[in-house]
Chain length 589, copies 2
């Protein structure tokens, strides 16, 4: 080793030891007679010291050091005159006897400090410098800890980690696949997996009983801030179980991770809520239950009083913002503008102030009497001092809007503390959802999800009402995991494909291997997958998953550091029997 100790290791008990440290120069303070250097590595910071007795040559070297130079320093551990109790090495410093520059450094394009002056683009281009900053390094350290904790738990529970292939077969169902042309099989392509779904099911058919994998998955979708073309899942599957067993097992996993990584003891059972209730009370299939402010439907008390907007609405729904009756005109206008933003798309917002004196003041006073408004307030359990916010319209859309408004109010009222964690199982998702574009039903999760047995007859009569044995884990309004009990017999799987609009040929072509496997003794099975990047960012108290990925891509799917993707060579394209369409290329220019 080039060093005897790391920069986080030495203590007063090491006093008088001769040591060699290596690391990066965090800063140099030159006070003329004395020079101090903060030397940094992954493990900490140790102060180096030189004075007049060090000799001019050594002092000269010390003074020549720039930020981020890599150096080796030999010297003696001495007790500091003025101690720094903020860092573990703060009682000592190294009186330097020898100093070697292992590698000089150009001035970094941004400050390597907790609060940096680097913008996103610069930080991404020089990601290797960004990764030197404590917050990012700690984010990746947390990620490592989460993986360790998850593996330990699953290993203890007899899960076997099995690697499934990355070069698989393209299937049109679901999101868009990344394709990989095959040179050895010209004209054919592999696809990168969106998840190891079918493979983990085959492992159950193989009798592996309990499988897990922390695995990269890929989706060629247009990217949002919290999406990446490659992402990581904790992917799990179990045999001979029911939904209850999956929920119990993985609630255990999540509790373990919170305990080991955050020191948070979650002793209570996670609450559960079925999908319909979640939509009715929160307008979301991943409610943030750190706070209440649940939806109150006002149709029966608000309709048929002459206010056409409400009368024509499928749904009139309110939330009660406690203690907000004193919101100013400006604040209320702000909320109105918030819900009218194009990404939310409400037409307007009705408010009712429940005044301290028991009277009501609303934006629809013209249509409703004090008594009418009292009936609303009673329904919403509103007290004097509270504020009702009311939206109306088409049910699904209005719920969506109200969900956004509720979350915004949660933010404004400080009800969404990042260090408070509220977990919720959402169950009984619909099996199918209608797709306007293709005018057919799609699988809400994926085509392998089993329906509630008693709902199977509705597949023909009322497909949208069929419930699935599917469940999600939401934490603080973030969907952290989701899964289902799978179909494990060929006939149900065929029925499902039929209802998804597959012809027999298409089903066989794409999933024939799975349906054939079901004929050779498939056990009842089910599983779950956790979004690992998102789980880590949640644990780290961040909204952005990028800080928890070592080398993320930007919103155009580019790695700006290595400059990928890039143009292939002619030779590469020839080998793959491919060519890029000139026309399309021109359009893109």
């Amino acid at each position: 080793m080039l060093r005897t100790h790391t920069c986080g290791e030495l203590r007063l008990s090491d006093k008088d030891s001769q040591v060699t440290l290596c690391g990066w120069v965090q800063r140099v303070r030159d006070k003329g007679a004395m020079v101090w250097i903060d030397l940094r590595d992954r493990y900490g910071i140790t102060q180096l010291m030189l004075d007049n007795s060090s000799g001019e040559a050594l002092l000269e070297t010390a003074r020549s050091l720039g930020r981020e130079f890599v150096i080796e320093a030999k010297g003696k551990v001495i007790e500091r005159a003025s101690k720094n109790n903020k860092i573990p090495t703060g009682e000592i410093e190294i009186f330097v006897g020898e100093l070697n520059i292992l590698n000089p450094a150009k001035l970094p394009p941004f400050l390597i400090e907790d609060e940096t002056d680097g913008g996103d683009d610069l930080r991404m281009k020089y990601r290797y410098l960004d990764l030197r900053r404590n917050p990012i390094r700690e984010a990746l350290r947390l990620r490592h800890k989460v993986a360790q904790s998850a593996r330990r738990f699953l290993d203890e529970q007899d899960f076997i980690e099995v690697e499934t292939p990355v070069l698989i077969k393209s299937t049109p169902e679901g999101a868009r696949d990344f394709l990989v042309p095959s040179r050895m099989n010209p004209g054919e392509v592999y696809a990168l997996p969106q998840s190891p779904q079918t493979f983990k099911q085959l492992l159950m058919v193989s009798g592996f009983d309990r499988y897990y994998q922390i695995v990269k998955c890929f989706r060629d979708e247009d990217l949002r801030a919290d999406r990446q073309p490659e992402f990581t899942q904790i992917d799990c599957e179990m045999s001979f179980i029911e939904q209850e067993d999956i929920i119990n097992t993985f609630e255990g996993l999540v509790k373990r991770i919170f305990k080991e990584v955050k020191g948070v003891d979650m002793t209570e059972e996670f609450p559960r809520m079925d999908y319909d209730t979640a939509m009715a009370l929160y307008g979301s299939d991943k409610p943030d239950i750190r706070f209440g402010m649940t939806f109150v439907e006002l149709n029966d008390v608000a309709q048929n009083k002459g206010f056409k907007v409400f009368d024509d609405a499928e749904l009139v729904v309110a939330i009660c913002a406690e203690g907000c009756a004193d919101y100013t005109r400006k604040q209320l206008d702000g909320l109105t503008n918030f819900v009218k933003k194009p990404q939310i798309g409400a037409k307007g917002l009705v408010y009712v102030k429940c005044n301290e004196d028991g009277s009501f003041k609303s934006s629809v006073d013209k249509f409703y009497s004090q008594e009418d408004l009292k009936a609303w307030a009673d329904k919403a359990n509103a007290k004097p001092g509270d504020l009702l916010l009311v939206l109306s319209g088409d049910k699904d859309h209005t719920r969506n809007c109200m969900n956004e408004l509720r979350l915004e109010m949660g933010n404004q009222l400080g009800l969404r503390d990042k260090e408070t964690f509220a977990c919720l199982w959402v169950t009984d998702f619909p099996l199918l959802e209608w797709d306007e574009d293709s005018k057919r039903y799609h699988a809400m999760h994926h085509p392998f999800t089993s329906p509630h047995k008693e709902d199977i007859p509705k597949l023909d009569s009322d497909p949208g009402a069929v419930r699935a044995n599917a469940y999600d884990l939401a934490i603080n309004g973030v969907e952290v995991g989701g899964g289902s009990i799978r179909i494990h017999d060929k006939s149900t799987q065929e029925l499902m494909f039929k209802h998804l609009g597959f012809t027999d040929e298409e089903a066989k072509e794409q999933f024939g291997f799975l349906m054939e496997a079901f004929e050779f003794g498939a056990p009842p099975h089910g599983g779950i997958a956790f979004g690992f990047d998102r789980l880590c960012s949640l644990l780290g108290g961040s909204d952005s998953i990028r800080d928890f990925i070592a080398f993320p891509k930007n919103n155009s799917g580019r790695d700006v550091m290595i400059d990928a993707p890039s143009k292939p060579s002619k030779e590469q394209m020839n080998e793959l029997s491919l060519e890029i369409k000139a026309l399309k290329l021109e359009e893109a220019k």
Copy 2:
């Protein structure tokens, strides 16, 4: 849970318990008055029993069960009349009270037993059935154990697991990349990584200090039996270290794995050998040192005696096969045919029998006296009863041939026991190797490997003689791992690219990000990567890595189970702005 216990769990101490088991029917024995069923799951086999008292309906169900049916059996644990001490559950059986078929099964296309009647192709097509067989399941279980053991060791040593990207940039150096067309960046492609090499080096520049990852890598090469287009590496890198530190650290890792997975205590330091010695003594850079039979060069005693074949040869080399003087004509012809096989390509084989009476009998008696042959025998330390096998010709080729012959003799003499493990570090590899096709030097490992400092001047005068700070770990003649101390400064890296025939523009275009990173304070660093699939197969005592991969591909890179790769849809190709060249496609048909 659908079961109360697994099929490997019940013991005599569970006698009289009411239990529910689930699993696969291994076999049914119907003795008329009694019916026994062997029920199997991942954890073991438990015997179920029914008799006349079970009732006709239940007996009928039991008799109807076929191989691999999935069933649920409820009943009472009873003591067996005739015990089976070969299995842990052999003292008990379940007297069945209820039997439910969870899923019937068609007759499997091959026997689900340790010795199967299924050929390779059939087993691969029905890999999910093959995975039910003990040897394959055990292989994957071993793989899991190796991963656990490696992770534990590296975690203890403060390595951080960091995931590096899978969608990266194509670089023409090295093997052929798999390409992934980018839809969002038309005309551009990602590449799948052949290794995370540059990323782990950037992590060192970032100060991560100790990195590891068990990671999928990809090479689009024509496949041999022991190669797969996707394979897994244990990939590691350290900062502020020298070669000695890497070797010590990862010798520790390998010892830990052998201890934990195989129960083998490797207390001694692994021997080391430089590349030149390995080539001279074994004709291989990954010698199998489970046995001796090292090469003996006979040039000085065998040349200039009138035998033109030897006189014209660059190298005359022998091995001494102990106790093989009694090899028959047929055996010797067999060896001659072996070395003359096209894949080996020797022109012929000379033998010398060292007879028990002190005389010699050789295939070149006409050219050599008994005294001459005695000189050979003396040089080779051959005793009466031994057999010398001699090859001659161009040095490199002859060494290759002799390496193959030595390994073959090792096999014939039973010197290559699969449960004996001989580890060897091979060091000081050449930095460059001459490539006849491109008429230039290539990096023997990769362009980031550092040269011996004292050899740098030879880069101009004698490039082939420059040694690298590179090392491989060979176990039983298999290259299990390899690595190097990296270049960490821009100027040496530039020099290296220059000698590899890169123009400045090419170097900058492909590796500009790395060279720029070296300017911002790169620490001295180095690392190693282990071939995880191969390490597992070695530990499992198998020559084939396929059995240690859950879903392997065949020699054409196909997954015959899911039938990948496959033809993309027109829509997919349009979205990627790609088309398949009609001509090439036609050729391929």
